[in-house]
């Protein structure tokens, strides 16, 4: 665990000498930090990025690269999908709650098309190809995919389904050379560099420096040696989630203890602690993204049951939703039941996700036999399959709304996959910020000179999640943070 002990703010009067200085100081060179740096520089500010590791990228560069965008982006339109900001907003309100920040969602939906154009303007490329299969990510370099269950129940009855997972074109996904996350971060950081943004690496921020209630810099360390950094206009915190801070995870999101995923070890909550020490407010600290390590092609063709043999989710939905339902509501218990025919069909398709494939745990000639082999109570699984098959025959799933294309009665022979505990995730809660990414004090007012974006903040998501929401709100509100910091009125104190 990282030492977060000394996170109290320091009075500027105690800082004898500034080692580094800029108008806007950005902590963290992941997607939020890069977007903030670009926008601050374009707003005329002299920008310095402090990055804890030896290079730019953060968790973003290791991610699949989904950016959740919609409302009618150029890519959506080119591929024949209708979408509007209102439709996107309706979906996000349903999928990201309860408790999701309505103002942020409305803002994000309204300005999503422009944000797509901004990314393209920074050199991010999206190939005009749609991947129409269930899965975590497109297998090749397709630019668009459903990434949040928009086309699955219950959301397909709430808003018109539109794919919004925008994936930067990969350099060479087949050889594994560079993924979508890298292809997002490379042009963003190149853009920042071209704008004169300076970056200093191996620097860990530790404490905020405050002058009469206004944040005017940070104290950091570089290989243990102190570095005082002055921010003439503002500090932008963009250092990621707290998924790797065990104490914080225990205190706020205990179901995630022992299973951090899609985060990097530097995600230790440092920035959250530093801002809290100044009275910053928090939001949705229990919220978590949850990945589910199962092949969506298999899931859609079978049924998922919990430890009592009960179904609990439409199996053809966004796998992150399956992950949340499994970990948060079904004691991390999930079993896949699929018949031989469907298993073969899933295996034969080139749309499978091979790295999530495991051999069946059980194989049986009847559901009763499988139920017994799995150690489930008598009739528990049999009655679940009976009800499912009764409706699947007519192409309906009144319990969960799985789409007709995936509905087929479960026959025999039949296999069972033990998928218990196959979840991992990262935290979604963090600092409470406004639409200009100003960090809010518990009194509701912005803390002068302090801005934040990315997963050290509570962004669009509360209870739910969609893939691309973090790179999405990180870059979107990162830009806001950069612009707001560059324009910050330095006369405005506490």
């Amino acid at each position: 665990m990282t030492d977060t002990a000394n996170c109290r703010p320091v009075d500027a009067a105690e800082v004898g000498h500034w080692d580094l200085e800029a108008d806007v100081v950005v902590a963290g060179f992941g997607v939020a930090g890069a977007a903030a740096a670009v926008e601050a520089a374009r707003s005329g500010a002299d920008v310095l990025v402090l990055e804890r590791t030896g290079g730019w990228g953060g968790a973003a560069s290791q991610a699949g690269g989904f950016v959740y965008l919609g409302g009618g982006t150029a890519l959506q339109r080119a591929l024949g999908f209708d979408d509007t900001p209102a439709n996107m907003e309706k979906f996000l309100l349903a999928a990201l709650g309860p408790g999701a920040d309505r103002a942020k969602i409305a803002d994000y939906a309204e300005n999503s098309v422009a944000h797509y154009d901004w990314l393209v303007g920074c050199g991010v490329r999206f190939r005009e190809a749609f991947w129409d299969q269930p899965g975590w990510e497109p297998p090749h370099d397709e630019g668009l995919m459903y990434s949040g269950g928009e086309n699955a129940a219950p959301f397909n009855a709430i808003a018109t389904p539109a794919p919004r997972g925008h994936v930067p074109q990969m350099a060479n996904k087949q050889t594994g050379a560079k993924g979508g996350g890298y292809m997002l971060m490379k042009p963003l950081t190149d853009t920042a560099a071209a704008l004169g943004v300076r970056a200093e690496y191996d620097i860990r921020i530790r404490r905020l420096v405050v002058d009469d209630g206004r944040v005017v810099g940070v104290l950091a360390t570089r290989f243990g040696a102190p570095v005082a950094v002055r921010a003439r206009r503002g500090v932008v915190l963009a250092t990621g989630s707290f998924a790797y801070n065990t104490t914080m995870v225990e205190n706020f999101a205990p179901l995630l203890v022992g299973r951090p995923g899609a985060a990097i070890e530097e995600h230790d909550g440092t920035a959250i602690r530093m801002a809290q020490a100044l009275g910053a407010d928090l939001s949705h600290m229990d919220a978590t993204e949850v990945a589910f390590f199962g092949d969506p092609q298999l899931l859609a063709r079978g049924i998922l049951v919990n430890g009592r043999g009960q179904r609990f989710v439409p199996e053809d939905t966004y796998p992150g939703r399956i992950g949340q339902m499994t970990l948060l509501h079904n004691e991390n218990q999930a079993y896949l039941i699929i018949d031989e025919q469907a298993l073969e069909a899933a295996s034969a398709t080139e749309t499978a996700t091979p790295f999530f494939r495991v051999p069946p745990t059980w194989a049986a000639e009847s559901i009763a036999e499988l139920e017994a082999d799995m150690g489930l109570p008598e009739l528990a699984l049999q009655t679940t399959v009976q009800t499912y098959n009764h409706h699947a025959k007519t192409g309906t799933d009144p319990l969960f709304g799985k789409k007709p294309e995936w509905l087929e009665p479960i026959g025999t022979p039949v296999a069972g996959f033990d998928l218990r505990g196959r979840t991992a995730g990262f935290t979604l809660g963090g600092l409470r910020t406004d639409l200009d990414s100003r960090v809010l004090h518990v009194n509701g007012e912005p803390i002068a000179g302090l801005f934040a974006a990315g997963r050290c903040t509570a962004g669009l998501c509360a209870g739910g999640y969609v893939s691309g929401a973090s790179l999405g709100d990180g870059s979107f509100f990162g830009r806001r943070a950069g612009a707001a910091a560059a324009h910050a009125d330095t006369d405005e104190g506490q």
Copy 2:
């Protein structure tokens, strides 16, 4: 909503004049505040309680009065129940997690017998009578009852069941004169008064006063006029939960929006905000107690199903657990299915909880008919009942572990009760404190001069709850707060 805008700490140098002064200043005269006041006074401190309303009592005096105690209290022993601190700890760890504070639970279990004796020593009376029925509270003035599902699955297989819901003897429950909560608060506040504790009413605390990092007082208002109160040794925050602060509930526990329960309107999170403004840490802000408004006598005799006709809880468990499972994990959807014979048996017993009784929503001659009347998908309810009955015949419930005494196949005619949305609750998260009730800064160190207890803190509970945990940890850690504040070393600054 209460104005929490001006919650920033104030420097002592800015306070020109102290209107009131004491060694230990306690904010809030509910159970935590009263216990803190008594213990601080017994430790030799001059104590002043600031209470926002016109009288002592808080939410505690309106509660049923359960204090969760065990490990072999005099009352447990007198009534023939074996219990040990280790057994109590084992149960609490299973029932109050995940993420529950292990150190607090161990401490609480270890010192629970002594805490019972302390309450009795303060004049709280517990009648030596055990109420053995499922329910929310004893119907008369019985002193002991199961209040957390100790004798139900899954906990009865984890720890030896022992009743730990200790109820102060009611003055006259039959006439509704005075309930258990009042009979807890009356002797505690009488004890405080006898010890010379002063109390000032109609005073709302607003801001903490700080001198070189140490809390030395509070700024308050009385009917709008400012009141500065000096605390020579320490301030104890004991102003209750944030169940009535809509913004906080939306940001931290959104499933509770619109359904505060067993809280009072003064529970607006004021103390939490004031301490946060000083860098205090939080814990388990999403955790909620959830009451379920259904008669446990009916529930135990029927089955509860969610909106898809699936069972989701052992129906004979603590109703607060049913509430949590309903609201937090089953979209607040619950239907009770019970046959005529069981309904009559439940109604005939004097153990029923009449005020939770509603007439059946549906009555039918068969499960199939009831299923259709309820609008459930075909076979959804029929298969659930089929599985339940198959095992109930043999006196087992392998899915949820309902006890044999409540297991009877569901026959016909059969009734359905629509119990959707019949939940309400209060928040369990709050300030992070140590075993001496010192409020912890985000850097992990105690904030000098600041103590807290009761529901403005995260106490024993995280994900789970047991009735009596709040009056229990409120009084237990309230005492710790009072003692620690009285002994606080005033030389110890930041």
